[in-house]
């Protein structure tokens, strides 16, 4: 019985689980996974002190603990609130949370340019995912968005402050992984900006990790910028022996053909750097920016990626198609007849039945 660790019970969205004391609500929810996990834009489990800022992970605590079952008066940031025994948390089951999160997403997108097609982060952007899952389809903001000029932070990293959501993750990286921070947040309020103190270059062996932790396209890899789209590249896990102290040497190579376009640290399902032997697998700038020959790496195999990720698109020759249930349900009526496009469009003449055309319809069909 000596090695039995004490656990406490927490209920998140009606799912009860046992966790170690001191776990945050967010990490407890991550143990369950799926939709129950609140999104996190600023929290990064490998960076001490991060979190609490973006407010996307707000949850409702319906009962504080068994000892004190009163609900918490306000929504709490799940990334910084530790669970108590008997705590009851409502995330997606709470209308209040959904409403607040919807507001937070709107606030985050307020000054964020909506030009994903020309952004280098598109396809692996956490804000894109967040907006898709929790946001509204339109914006109510009618004013000019704040813009900044692009800034070079040394030879490898480019900062485009216009896209920044001020999650502070990169400052924590600079504080905790590199030993000297030369950039930070200047100014305050909606004119706050990440910057070095008057155009300094960030020169540190681990500065590249700032790019990995950036949830949006504010910090990008200058050796990869606009070279390729992430969903055209194929990620493979690889490792090499690296001499830099603190570098784990385990990375993901983003290939197209045999060419290595980009090297990043390996990510876990939450978009964070994977841990190896309990230590976060940060990689050094030499591995990231200067080792782009496949010969320098030992390739382990394809990277596991979420099937929902756009990165997984175009990678497999045979796609397993989902079962077509519509025809069964609709008593054999084919799906393309379900929508009567003649009622919504004058372009198409009602005399032409789309169902009678056995290929894709084109303009010639309508010119008869």
């Amino acid at each position: 019985m000596a090695d039995e660790t004490k656990t406490i019970k927490v209920t998140i969205d009606n799912i009860t689980l046992d966790v170690a004391p001191g776990t945050t609500i967010l990490n407890a929810a991550r143990e369950i996974g799926g939709d129950v996990t609140p999104p996190a834009m600023c929290y990064y489990s490998k960076l001490e002190g991060s979190g609490g800022k973006c407010r996307t992970c707000l949850v409702e605590v319906a009962a504080g603990s068994t000892a004190d079952p009163r609900p918490m008066p306000k929504l709490v940031a799940s990334c910084r609130t530790t669970v108590m025994d008997g705590m009851v948390v409502k995330n997606i089951t709470s209308e209040k949370v959904k409403d607040a999160r919807n507001g937070v997403v709107e606030f985050l997108l307020l000054n964020h340019p909506l030009d994903c097609p020309i952004c280098d982060q598109a396809g692996e952007c956490h804000l894109q995912d967040l907006g898709y899952e929790h946001g509204k389809e339109g914006t109510r903001y009618q004013f000019a968005r704040r813009t900044f000029k692009k800034e070079d932070l040394g030879p490898y990293i480019q900062l485009h402050m216009t896209r920044c959501i001020l999650c502070y993750r990169c400052t924590y990286v600079a504080d905790q992984i590199t030993n000297k921070r030369v950039h930070g947040v200047v100014d305050r309020g909606d004119h706050a900006a990440i910057s070095t103190y008057i155009s300094k270059a960030i020169e540190n062996d681990f500065s590249g990790n700032m790019i990995d932790v950036c949830p949006v396209g504010a910090l990008t890899d200058k050796t990869f910028r606009f070279k390729n789209r992430v969903w055209f590249t194929k990620p493979v896990d690889a490792h090499r022996t690296c001499d830099t102290p603190g570098c784990c040497g385990k990375a993901t190579l983003w290939l197209r053909g045999d060419e290595v376009f980009r090297v990043t640290a390996r990510k876990d399902p939450w978009g964070e750097v994977q841990s190896f032997d309990g230590k976060p697998g940060w990689i050094c700038n030499t591995c990231r920016f200067e080792t782009k020959q496949t010969s320098s790496w030992t390739i382990e195999g394809l990277t596991t990626i979420s099937r929902h990720s756009v990165v997984g698109a175009n990678k497999y020759k045979t796609l397993e198609k989902p079962n077509e249930t519509v025809q069964k349900v609709m008593h054999g009526v084919s799906p393309k007849l379900l929508m009567d496009i003649h009622s919504v469009s004058d372009v198409n003449k009602p005399s032409i039945h789309l169902s009678e055309i056995d290929r894709a319809a084109n303009s010639n069909d309508f010119k008869k």
Binding site: G52, K53, K74, L75, F107, L166, V185, G189, D190
Partner: protein
Amino acid sequence: MGRKLLLEKAHVEGIRHFDVYRREGGYRSVEKALKMTPDAIVEEVKKSGLRGRGGAGFPTGMKWSFLAKPEGTPRYLVCNADESEPGTFKDRYLMEFIPHLLIEGMIVSSFALGSNTSYIYIRGEYDWIADILEAAIAEAKQNGWLGKNIQGSGFDCELYVQRGAGAYICGEETALLESLEGKRGNPRIKPPFPAVKGLWGCPTVVNNVETLAAVVPIINEGAEQYASIGIGRSTGTKLISACGNINKPGIYEIDMTISVEEFIFSDEYCGGIPNGKKLKACIPGGSSVPILPANLLLTTAKGEKRLMNYESLSDGGFATGSMMGSGGFIVLDEDQCIVKHTYTLARFYRHESCGQCSPCREGTGWMEKILLNIENGKGKMSDIDLLWDIQRKIEGNTICPLGDAAAWPVAAAIRHFRDEFEWHVNNPEKCLTENFGLRHYADPIHVPVEKN
């Protein structure tokens, strides 16, 4: 006029200096306190019913008793003199005229809390007051009231003045501690609260200037005597800084039994509204508390007279009430435009938001822009509902109370003066040259309130 406890001697010639202050009975409370046990002092403050004078009104004795006391860890007392709430200037007056009162209160409080190093964090704009305080601290030290072994009691206490650099947010206690540590003044995420992990990770109590000064009369006269002044849970006296459209703006020390009507119209206090104008609205507790129209200011929704104290001012919640706040009493007469006024406040909060958490950072700027449009006659009717929705999504969802402080004035202005906003939208030309005036609330009106 009620009894004065804090400002009684404020206008004695030379009271700023130690000799005169001591001659007038200063530092008696330290002599008395050093003979008591620290716990007895905390108990005394608890019994006095003193509530924090900085804005939230949390019972001071209770706050002190929450202070963690682990062995071998220093504890700190920090005086919050970062008085930046628009409309509030009571602490400035206190520190400028009678600085030794604060120092005396801090020595007693430091002794009660076991703090050997205490700080006064003063806003940067009060630079001459920081000089006054530093001179007063030097005098007190010279006379053996600060430093090692105070008056032979064995208690050591050092007092330092730290100047801020002009940020409203540094009046929030955790941002203040960050700033005091020499970092960027971003509020910390609570818990842990400062009482457990404050300055340099040690247990810390942060109190307002007036709160610490009020400890002096509590020790001098005893908790029962102090608690007998005032009404209900609003004990003692309160400094009110009155400004706006009144005949006699300034600092008034009130016991909390007088009515709001008396405070505004009697010659003893504000002396009425100049030029025979009518009262339109008032912010009773500093810019961040909800604004109240005249009818709801003078009487509560139940039809009772509203008194100048914590309970009565907040009677009716935010639907029909407001808050005592920090005592920044801003009076608006019939010529004032509520839209412009709300815009001014929104601009202030946008400028002062620290930018750490997204609802406040983005929301305050958005509200300001919409309000500017409405003020300039470019608003749409949907903007008013949009404002309501924005403030609703900021309130309660931020790290620190600045988000709430930015949301409340906008919410209250729309709640009570929606017709004035609509008039601005409907009369885009007229609103640039004319004022809406008083039209809409000749009689106390029932205000339907949306649950926030």
